[in-house]
């Protein structure tokens, strides 16, 4: 156990040579008096999948919202592709290429499916994704484009929400609770599309409560508990027991979590 942090350090230091698209440094964030993020640091390499896991209330959504600019952190920095974006507004970050699929999907309820997709093109960032490409990938959307988005099933809504975010042609896609409330088969199919989506070099940062699903796709991950990182590294480096301990805080001595 004592060896692990060193291992994590080495792993974290190594990709610094390749391109780190996102660097989060000592991020702290509050909800009123509550400290929801307590010095979280990690880096995400370009073109990879990074997963954040953790129990309810661990601060995962707060982390995602802070990266997307919806929540002002009280301390720390967010660096995107070498630029400090901590002070930028959400729309400015979208223009730089960060899109968040928020927890609960948040489609525009009174807009049709197609209108929801079209809102994704608001900033007109050029890139691979166009509405035609989306329809090509998900033909059912074309058939149901005039339906109100609130009539879709959960999985369909999640797919539309991801597509809406993709239409902004982001370089970094944040997805908060991809599988929330979805049937396992739907989750698998969405994860299946995800690998196709990433072919163009997209970086994905996902938040998941479904630990196995997340760890099966992620190159690196971190586990959070009460606003702190309790474990970080490559999924293969840890036994399920270690991950479970970090997840539930069973062994909450500070020696477990990585120092990066």
């Amino acid at each position: 156990m004592g060896r692990r942090p060193n291992m994590a350090e080495v792993v974290a230091a190594e990709p610094a040579l390749s391109n780190q698209i996102l660097e989060v440094e000592g991020l702290c964030a509050h909800h009123g008096q509550l400290l929801a993020l307590d010095g979280v640091s990690f880096t995400v390499g370009e073109g990879s999948v990074f997963a954040v896991i953790g129990a309810n209330g661990a601060g995962k959504s707060t982390l995602m919202r802070s990266i997307a600019g919806l929540h002002r952190p009280s301390e720390g920095r967010v660096i995107f592709d070498g630029t400090d974006i901590t002070r930028l507004s959400t729309p400015q970050r979208v223009e730089l290429g960060i899109s968040l699929v928020p927890e609960g999907r948040r489609l525009f309820a009174s807009l049709s499916v197609e209108e929801n997709l079209l809102t994704g093109t608001y900033i007109r960032r050029s890139g691979h994704w166009t509405i035609e490409r989306v329809y090509e990938m998900f033909p059912w959307m074309w058939q149901r484009k005039n339906q109100r988005s609130s009539l879709l099933s959960g999985g369909e809504q999640q797919t539309v929400a991801i597509s809406r975010a993709l239409l902004a042609n982001p370089r970094l896609l944040l997805i908060d609770e991809l599988s929330l409330g979805l049937a396992p088969i739907v989750v698998r199919s969405i994860y299946g599309s995800l690998s196709k989506i990433m072919e163009g070099g997209l970086t994905v940062l996902i938040v998941e409560q479904d630990v196995n699903q997340a760890l099966s796709v992620a190159a690196k991950f971190q586990c959070m508990l009460e606003g702190r990182t309790t474990l970080s590294g490559k999924p293969a480096e840890f036994t399920p027991e270690e991950i479970e301990a970090a997840y539930f805080g069973l062994n909450s001595t500070s020696s477990i979590h990585g120092k990066d």
Binding site: L70, T90, P91, V94, S99, F108, T119, I123, A165
Partner: protein
């Protein structure tokens, strides 16, 4: 009776033009603009002030005043309403109420309490007869047509254009709208610009149609509001119907006495509120 209905319909157009901006602001940002009527009156006074200076026909005034108020709407939104929104929904009410009082007194100081109207030559007085008892003023008809065109245009704009789509998206969920790159404050500004533009148009029409004085703003606000409630929140065609109902109530009330003419529309409104608070054509989603 038929005459009352016809006059009511003609008046309904003007009311819906007033109410259009009111429900737009409420639908998009949940703001009730208590200065709405005063903005209409202010537009009329700006027109009254610039007509003699510029020596242009009154119709051209529209091309100047309406854009001017659209810009003013954007600025007022960004400078006053947005910061007040940040400090709570009640603050916005109080701030717009303050604006209402300030505008009214500014007009009073600058133009005195006398009422004014926009001179538009022969159009103001010419009318055609439908029957021996019913005559329709060209101006009223024109205003009705313009109102319908404008309201339909706003609807089309909201449902058919890129900006309209984003306005509706922001109305649904402003955070989600930020996540697709829309600065909701800018979008709010645009909505406020639209609202100010339409109400300025209403104010100008009103000044041609009858007279305005600095303290008449609240009356128009109340009329527009009553039409909105009677018609059902968030439905512009419902508002149109509400405006017609108010117009008819006024005309019929006037049959009985002048006092009752003034009271009748309010009584109709209170009755609707008591018996059918959701209005007659409620819509699930605002805008």
């Amino acid at each position: 009776m038929l005459n009352a209905i016809i006059q009511g319909i003609l008046l309904g157009g003007l009311v819906v033009l007033f109410a259009c901006g009111l429900s737009l602001l409420f639908g998009v940002m949940g703001v009730i603009n208590l200065a709405h009527g005063d903005i209409a009156v202010a537009a009329a006074y700006v027109a009254v002030a610039i007509v003699p200076v510029l020596h242009i026909p009154a119709i051209w005034i529209f091309a100047i005043v309406v854009p001017l108020f659209m810009v003013a709407g954007y600025i007022v939104q960004r400078l006053l309403i947005q910061p007040s929104l940040n400090s709570g929904p009640l603050t916005t009410l109080l701030v717009t109420f303050g604006l209402s009082v300030i505008i009214e007194n500014l007009l009073l100081e600058i133009f005195s309490a006398n009422s004014h109207s926009l001179a538009i030559g022969s159009l103001a007085s010419s009318a055609f007869k439908l029957s021996s008892q019913i005559s329709i003023a060209y101006l009223s008809l024109l205003i009705l047509v313009v109102s319908i065109v404008v309201v339909a245009g706003v609807q089309l704009g909201l449902y058919r254009t890129r900006t309209g789509r984003i306005i509706r998206a922001v109305a649904d969920d402003r955070e989600a709208a930020e996540l697709i790159g829309a600065d909701y404050r800018h979008i709010f500004g645009i909505a406020a610009g639209l609202a100010f533009g339409t109400v300025a148009l209403a104010g100008l029409s009103l000044a041609m149609y009858s007279q305005v004085d600095p303290s008449s703003g609240p009356d128009y606000l109340i009329f527009g509001f009553e039409a909105v409630v009677i018609g059902g929140l968030g439905s512009l065609w419902g508002t149109f119907a509400g405006g017609i109902v108010l117009g008819i109530a006024t005309t019929i009330g006037l049959f009985l006495s002048a006092n009752f003419g003034a009271l009748a529309p309010h009584i109709v409104f209170l009755l609707v509120l008591a018996l059918r608070p959701q209005g007659f054509f409620p819509k699930k989603v605002a805008v």
